[in-house]
């Protein structure tokens, strides 16, 4: 049992507390520690990734208590891949936040950022559903702070909606967990996987309800129709770097669906038949259509990207809802692509809105922005990736999904919706790109005599030009786009890895045996002889309270 498995959770937790307590009045020090921590996180994530890529499942027993009585963290291919993706994304987002000065526009950006990372990492690594709830809450409560970072009436208003929606989601999550515990008597995922199989179909109504409730909760996080309504306002009003970091949050929902519905409620499980396999696909297609039509209809750039998130989550869900090995492999390839592309787009939109002064992210003609050429090139590249045009990874991802859907009974629907919404998205993105970047030149001539918004741009332009174009945000966006290119160029090896990951998910026996059969401290009670018993009793009492105790500890850091 290597302690490195818990490091992605512990490091940000400690760092956040340290930043909060020791460096709260030193913005430069906060930046140094935050970046250093994130770089260390990448290093740890790479180590875990390499370790797990051979197909080993390694676990970490918190407090050394044996599962299912204690909580375990499990590092297999899927979770370490997601951990690595999060760490890399966080690094570029942090560069952008520092370069644009977003982190100094409100307090505690870096502490909240690290807490958010802690929650996300924990959610990816945990092997216990109640612990998953706790980590969801950790990442949510940090995201509430980040969402309304630097304030503003409109942002706070959108923040209220976001918090309330997620609060309802959490309540639903607890209902689902209560049902699962009532039906099976365990909350450990590996243990659940075994016990759910023992449920006879005639008494399966409770567990079926729990399965559906859980998927609703994860769908809320993932922004799958019809519970996606919180997403556009929240993502559009969140600060740019925060929205980019939130690109991974929808994937946490997707990850949870993949994890629970391959491990616990697997596709072969009798009692879960007729649930996800029948209605997830139509919902995914609706989400895809809603998202891409929203892209076309949006009047602001940030809302447009937010709708693109809904669309791409819909696309991802189409791949997931196949619940076949090729489907999940395609979904995993698309997860990486979609995270990078949406994050890059949010960062670009943030820069555009910044440079356009009062016009902000509104989709109308305005004066050209300084350094528009490179931004336009970046926008072009990420829009190509997002809409799934060749040659970038969006195209390959879509191809893999179309290919995986070929054997599905709903292939006609899937292909029709995916292909037609792609066209809609292309139109939407090209309209936005041409309005923002091409029509800017005409606008400059038309608005020459118009006082007001454009005038202050003119005034500040000559002297402010060099410092208004900080390099760091462009490095961040360029880095994300370079990763998209790498994701395209290395598609062969990456796809083989995703296929291996998917194969591991569909053969969960090693996962289950590793979790349940690794030795640890046990609860033992043999009862009935002498004073020695009090010792064992105490241990037993501790053991059963260990689960929530450790959870509270994890939540309370």
């Amino acid at each position: 049992m290597s302690h490195w498995t818990v490091a992605p959770v512990v490091l940000p937790a400690m760092l956040a507390a340290f930043i909060l307590l020791a460096t709260r009045f030193h913005a430069p020090m906060q930046r140094v520690f935050s970046v250093a921590g994130t770089v260390a996180l990448i290093a740890i994530a790479v180590g875990l990734f390499v370790q797990a890529s051979g197909g080993d499942v390694s676990i970490y027993q918190l407090g050394d208590w044996q599962a299912p009585f204690g909580i375990v963290l499990v590092a297999d291919r899927l979770s370490t891949m997601m951990v690595l993706l999060t760490a890399v994304l966080a690094f570029f987002v942090l560069l952008h936040a520092i370069g644009t000065g977003w982190d100094t526009r409100g307090r505690h950006f870096h502490a909240l950022f690290q807490f958010q990372l802690m929650g996300i990492m924990g959610a990816f690594l945990t092997g216990d559903v109640f612990n998953l709830f706790v980590f969801f809450e950790v990442l949510l409560i940090a995201s509430y702070g980040l969402m309304i970072h630097s304030g503003g009436t409109q942002r706070t208003h959108a923040g209220t909606q976001y918090v309330l929606y997620n609060l309802l989601g959490s309540t639903l999550f607890l209902f689902a967990l209560g049902l699962i515990y009532a039906e099976t008597g365990t909350l450990n995922m590996a243990d659940l996987a075994q016990r759910v199989q023992a449920i006879v179909p005639s008494q399966s109504s409770g567990i079926r309800t729990a399965a559906v409730l859980l998927v609703i909760v994860f769908a809320i996080k993932a922004g799958i129709a019809p519970v996606h309504f919180w997403l556009p306002a929240s993502y559009a009003n969140a600060p740019g770097p925060v929205a980019a970091l939130f690109a991974i949050m929808t994937k946490v929902g997707a990850y949870a669906i993949i994890r629970i519905y391959t491990l616990v409620f697997g596709p072969d499980l009798g009692v879960a038949q007729g649930l996800l396999d029948t209605w997830l696909m139509p919902l995914a297609l609706i989400g895809l259509a809603v998202g891409m039509i929203g892209v076309l209809g949006a009047v602001r750039l940030d809302r447009m990207v937010a709708f693109a998130v809904i669309g791409s989550m819909g696309m991802l869900t189409v791949a997931m809802s196949l619940f076949t090995e090729t489907g999940i492999a395609a979904a995993l390839y698309y997860v990486v692509h979609s995270t990078l592309a949406t994050a890059a787009l949010f960062l670009i939109v943030d820069l555009v809105a910044e440079h356009r002064g009062r016009t902000g992210a509104e989709l109308r003609r305005a004066r050209p922005i300084p350094g528009a050429n490179i931004l336009a090139a970046f926008f072009f590249a990420s829009a190509i990736a997002m809409t799934g045009l060749p040659p970038l990874s969006g195209f390959l991802g879509k191809l893999l999904i179309l290919d995986a859907a070929f054997d599905s009974p709903q292939v006609v629907w899937a292909w029709a919706v995916i292909l037609s919404t792609s066209l809609v998205a292309v139109v939407g993105f090209s309209r936005a790109g041409s309005t923002v970047f091409w029509k800017a030149r005409e606008a400059a001539e038309d608005l020459e005599d118009d006082p007001g918004t454009e005038m202050d741009n003119v005034d500040s332009k000559p002297e402010a030009h060099p410092e208004r174009q900080p390099v760091l945000p462009l490095v961040a966006i360029g880095g994300l786009i370079a990763l998209i290119v790498a994701h395209t160029v290395l598609a062969g090896p990456i796809n083989r890895f995703m296929a291996a990951t998917s194969a591991q998910l569909f053969a969960p026996e090693p996962y289950i045996t590793t979790v349940l059969e690794t030795e640890g401290k046990k609860i033992s009670y043999d009862g009935g002889h002498g004073s020695d018993d009090h010792g064992t009793e105490a241990a037993g009492e501790h053991g059963s309270e260990m689960t929530p105790g450790a959870e509270e500890e994890a939540g309370g850091h």
């Binding site: 109640f130 706790v134 809450e137 949510l140 409560i141 509430y144 309304i148 304030g151 503003g152 009436t153 409109q154 706070t156 208003h157 959108a158 923040g159 209220t160 909606q161 918090v163 309330l164 609060l167 309802l168 959490s170 309540t171 607890l174 209902f175 967990l177 209560g178 049902l179 515990y181 009532a182 306002a233 009670y525 009862g527 009935g528 018993d533 009793e537 037993g540 009492e541 059963s544 309270e545 689960t547 929530p548 105790g549 959870e551 509270e552 939540g555």
Partner: protein, 120 residues
């Protein structure tokens, strides 16, 4: 007792959902509070309702009540309490800033907000 607990959960949930659907911050927050009470009782009941039995194994005990749901409820109470506090603060901020306590995105209300911000 089962009937009492079950109908209690049901009434709390129903009231909570009704209030949440009012879409103004105050009723919605009260509604989420009711829902969290409902879910806490529900979690508690998920370990089966056992009256006057110790929550731990003891030599004398012939039957005992499941301690895990009690601990889960404790965690859930702490989290939901904290979340409710956060949402009250954010909702107050939004209400005082925009003079509008709608939870959903109202076209007209948001336009008013934009105008207010422009006027500043």
């Amino acid at each position: 007792m089962e009937l009492l607990v079950a109908s209690g959960i049901g009434v709390l949930t129903a009231a909570g959902i009704y209030l949440v659907l009012r879409l103004r911050t105050f009723p919605v927050i009260i509604g989420t509070a009711m829902l969290t009470y409902a879910v806490n009782v529900f979690l508690f009941a998920s370990g089966r309702l056992t009256v006057s039995a110790p929550p731990i194994l003891m030599d004398e005990a012939t039957r005992y009540t499941d301690p895990l749901p009690q601990a889960l409820v404790l965690t859930a109470i702490v989290i939901s309490f904290g979340m409710t506090a956060v949402v009250v603060v954010i909702a107050l901020g939004a209400y005082l800033g925009s003079d509008d306590d709608h939870v959903d995105e109202q076209g007209g209300a948001l336009d008013a907000v934009r105008k207010l911000e422009k006027a500043e």
